[in-house]
Symmetry: C2
Subunit: 218 residues, 2 copies
DNA sequence: TACAACTCGTACACCGATGATCGAGTTCCG
DNA sequence: CGGAACTCGATCATCGGTGTACGAGTTGTA
């Protein structure tokens, strides 16, 4: 009777309850787990649908070893996304959101931009592998923060109220992603991106004070 | 010695020179070709990476028949995109672009929106299959039109000049795509979309009346 | 009407990715 | 130090998609 050899411990550990991190793993196993997660992010960034083999190569280890940590490709992608999002939370939670909504928005966008640029490929990959509900669930916190800020801006008369917050939110996402794409394509310098994004979003979201609209319909 | 049976005639007909359309095809073959193209669009819309089998099923015909018209999956996707783009050209070329740039832009966006909504999935699929250069080449005409309009708007002082036209163009694309995505997700009514798009883009692109540009180079 | 064009189904070879298994080597950790 | 945990490479079965081949049936067109 031979005992199971491969498969460390952690993987996703049941998960059910709270975020019970890796229980009793050996130190180097944890290190490898981290390396796999990092490799996943970069591999996916290079090629949106990289295989587990590609990822393993990127991490500099055997394909089976990766399977030892994550039973399926889907769980691997999810873990990588979760990791990336958690890391992002650490940054975003430090951004002060009080004071002028416009200024706060600007700060939040500047910080978010970097994160979006890093993990959007991962997110795209995850969208193919995971149910949409799970994706939304993971974004909940970051999205809630931005939504709350936009809402406050509306209440204080700084942001326009003739458009629903959901659309402002979508626009924000979309413009940031567009900037990321332009950077990736080499058509935009990464350092200029935050300014380009602000330059679009701030006037677009500004409360219509003295009707600076161009065409003016209705 | 049996003669080749399958494979109609047309496919892409050498192509080299001009756009020599289907030469001597039987009437029903042409009809089927059109059906395949349409099915490709709808199938891809349902599932971004639908197989040739899926497409054939959508068209209500055998998989081999599809291969009879298009030798490879890539050529099928390309043909579908070309067809979709040509159809779009017919619409877009009818939009009057003279007069106030803001108004013209609004008209162009409204017309483009529908087309984007219809063929963006196809475009996404094509991006995975075709070289980026080919994609750009196919968009050349539509993109050129929009670019020229934006440029005129800048020259006439209606659109801001502190951002490059390329970025305005990207923003336009991205916002329209975002709207399409929201519609697909059921979070936005298709009829409202054009207004939502304008509402964002027009103030975002408007010339900064009080010239307080922040970055302002050169 | 008769031929050629076209369609259809089945079947096959090929490829790449997934996920499991085994056996042996290596490394951590008590 | 010694056993357990972990890594590694090779191998295998499986699955799904692509593209090809054949043979027979069906339909447009001269």
């Amino acid at each position: 009777m031979t005992v199971k050899k491969t498969t460390p411990r952690g993987t996703t550990t049941g998960a059910s309850g709270g975020g019970g991190r890796a229980a009793n793993q050996r130190a180097d196993a944890q290190r490898n787990r981290a390396r796999i997660l990092a490799a996943t992010a970069t591999a996916i960034r290079k090629n949106p649908d990289a295989s587990v083999g590609d990822i393993a190569a990127e991490a500099g280890m055997g394909r089976v070893t990766v399977y030892g940590h994550f039973p399926t490709r889907a769980e691997l992608i999810e873990a990588a996304l979760v990791d990336s999002l958690e890391r992002g939370e650490d940054v975003l939670s430090g951004v002060p959101l009080d004071g002028d909504p416009g200024e706060a928005f600007r700060r939040l966008v500047a910080s978010s931009w970097v994160l979006v640029d890093q993990s959007r490929a991962l997110l795209a990959a995850a969208m193919k592998e995971l149910p949409a509900a799970r994706i939304r669930e993971l974004h909940e916190k970051a999205e809630g923060r931005m939504r709350a800020l936009l809402l406050r801006g509306q209440r204080e008369g700084v942001f326009r109220v003739d458009l629903p917050v959901s659309w402002l939110l979508t626009t924000t996402h979309v413009v940031m992603n567009g900037a990321a794409e332009e950077v990736r394509a080499g058509r935009l310098d990464a350092d200029d991106a935050p300014w380009f994004i602000e330059a679009i979003l701030l006037p677009a979201f500004a409360a219509t004070t003295s009707t600076t609209t161009i065409g003016e319909g209705a």
